[in-house]
């Protein structure tokens, strides 16, 4: 089996309504799997369920074909890394924040420091290592978050809009650094985004989520060439319009 992580029959409810209802989501080894959808579609909820951070009301997660039992959750989490929608730091320095996860996973201090420094450098953030993590700017924080995730050398990487709220200059170079890192490591990745361009450029497969339900799944090209619902068509048209506008302005 080539599937690294798989969710089956996942259902998340709040008191009043269904937030997520996904029959199946599976990530194959080494692929970049994108999830797109409008605000409130349930993307972050899906990510938390898949990353074993939130227990769904119904459904199971399978890691390499094995059902993840409650007692296995911590062990399997240690094979994964998550970059959240907003960068989250403990009240400590950048370096401490990066090495913390490694130390939790039993890596010794010296090796943890080496890995932290290596990945900070790859994300051009080595100058930040002694800064207080919570004092970083948005762009700096995103770089550090990415370095922290890669330093864990995970088998599966979860990313929740890691490039939102970045200015264009930083965005371009950070995205380049990021996909370069993904390519060289071959980490299986679940990647949430609003940006169809990122999907077209980097994803192997894409899933569209709307109102908690899967609207379409396939290759990025299939998606833009043959959107299955009117809503999706409008979503793509809106994106094309903004893209055209941007090109026009340039």
């Amino acid at each position: 089996m080539n599937t690294v992580i798989e969710g089956k029959d996942i259902n998340v409810k709040s008191r009043e309504r269904v937030l997520l209802d996904v029959k199946r989501i599976g990530l194959n080894k080494g692929e970049i799997f994108a999830v797109i959808g409008p605000n409130g579609a349930g993307k972050s909820t899906l990510l938390r369920v898949m990353a074993l951070l939130q227990v769904p009301q119904r459904g199971e997660i399978y890691f390499k074909g094995e059902k993840v039992a409650r007692k296995d959750r911590v062990r399997i989490r240690r094979k994964m890394a998550v970059v959240f929608q907003e960068p989250l730091f403990l009240n400590a320095t950048v370096l401490e924040n990066i090495t913390l996860g490694l130390k939790i996973r039993g890596v010794n201090q010296r090796v943890a420091m080496e890995k932290a420094e290596y990945w900070l450098e790859r994300f051009k953030a080595e100058k930040l290592s002694n800064r207080w993590a919570r004092s970083l700017s948005g762009g700096e924080a995103q770089r550090v978050s990415l370095a922290r995730a890669f330093a864990l050398e995970p088998e599966v990487l979860f990313l929740d809009e890691p490039f939102s709220n970045l200015d264009v200059f930083i965005r371009e170079s950070l995205i380049a650094d990021f996909f370069e890192a993904l390519k060289t490591t071959g980490i299986t990745t679940l990647f949430i985004t609003h940006d169809l361009e990122e999907v077209l450029l980097f994803a192997n497969r894409v899933m569209v989520l709307m109102g908690g339900k899967v609207v379409q799944e396939g290759t990025p090209l299939e998606l833009v060439e043959n959107p299955l619902t009117d809503e999706l068509k409008r979503f793509i048209q809106a994106w094309e319009r903004s893209k055209a506008k941007m090109l026009h302005l340039l």
Binding site: R77, M80, I104, R105, R131, W132, S135
Partner: protein, 236 residues
């Protein structure tokens, strides 16, 4: 007026010459209240961690009980612990009444609700998203507790100082369960009561200065911690 001036003079003299009795009572008080505070913290941490992280029926009631317990009158606690430890009471066989242990027990009962309520609030203030992050790093429940305590360290220290402040200044319970026995169960507050009733104002004043000094040191520590926290969170 003369009494006060004379009293202050003598009190200061006793303090600077380290009067043996006063010295001993002070150390004993610090020890008893310190141990009671530490036991309360040890009880409070796991309970507060559980309350802060889990949803269970009766959670709100438990929190409100701890909040109510913050205002528990020490005399009432003294009475209950007395009844428990009394020679013919349920725990009478342990022969604990009028011992330092009895004071530690009573003070633990007084400090625990204070520390538990404040530590719960401190842990609840740790961002839920940060908890997801710690979980995602692969933390075990124990590592999670440790990291959350570290995250809320200043608020938790404030809780400890508040609990310690409550028991060191308490008189009713210590008097009732300890019996104010000289050289054995006498603490600062019960000593002040006794010296005042005997008319030894200078002794009472000297003791009161020490108590005030401790209260001031507690406040000073709190202020310092608040400043530290502010500095930590908004740059270095």
């Amino acid at each position: 007026m003369d009494t006060i001036v004379e009293g202050v003079k003598k009190a200061v003299l006793m303090l600077v010459t380290l009067d043996a009795d006063i010295y001993r009572i002070t150390l004993f008080t610090l020890k008893v209240s310190g141990i009671a505070t530490l036991i309360s913290l040890a009880i409070s941490l796991p309970v507060a961690f559980f309350i802060a992280l889990k949803d269970f029926p009766g959670k709100k009631i438990l929190i409100s009980l701890a909040n109510l317990g913050m205002g528990l009158p020490p005399t009432v606690v003294g009475l209950w612990v007395c009844l428990l430890l009394w020679r013919s009471g349920p725990l009478g066989r342990l022969r604990l009444i009028y011992t330092p242990t009895a004071i530690v027990i009573a003070q633990t009962v007084i400090a625990t609700p204070v520390i538990m309520a404040l530590v719960t609030a401190a842990l609840q203030q740790v961002d839920k998203k940060l908890r997801w992050h710690i979980m995602a790093l692969g933390a075990t429940p124990l590592q999670m507790l440790f990291l959350m305590v570290r995250e809320a360290r200043y608020s938790i220290l404030a809780a400890v100082i508040a609990g310690f402040g409550a028991v060191i200044s308490e008189v009713g319970a210590s008097m009732m369960v300890g019996g104010n026995i000289a050289g054995y169960t006498r603490v600062l507050t019960t000593a002040i009561v006794l010296e005042t009733s005997k008319g030894n104002f200078e002794d009472a004043l000297a003791l009161s200065f020490i108590l005030l000094l401790m209260a001031y040191l507690g406040t000073l520590a709190l202020t310092y911690l608040q400043q530290r926290r502010h500095k930590d969170e908004y740059g270095n």
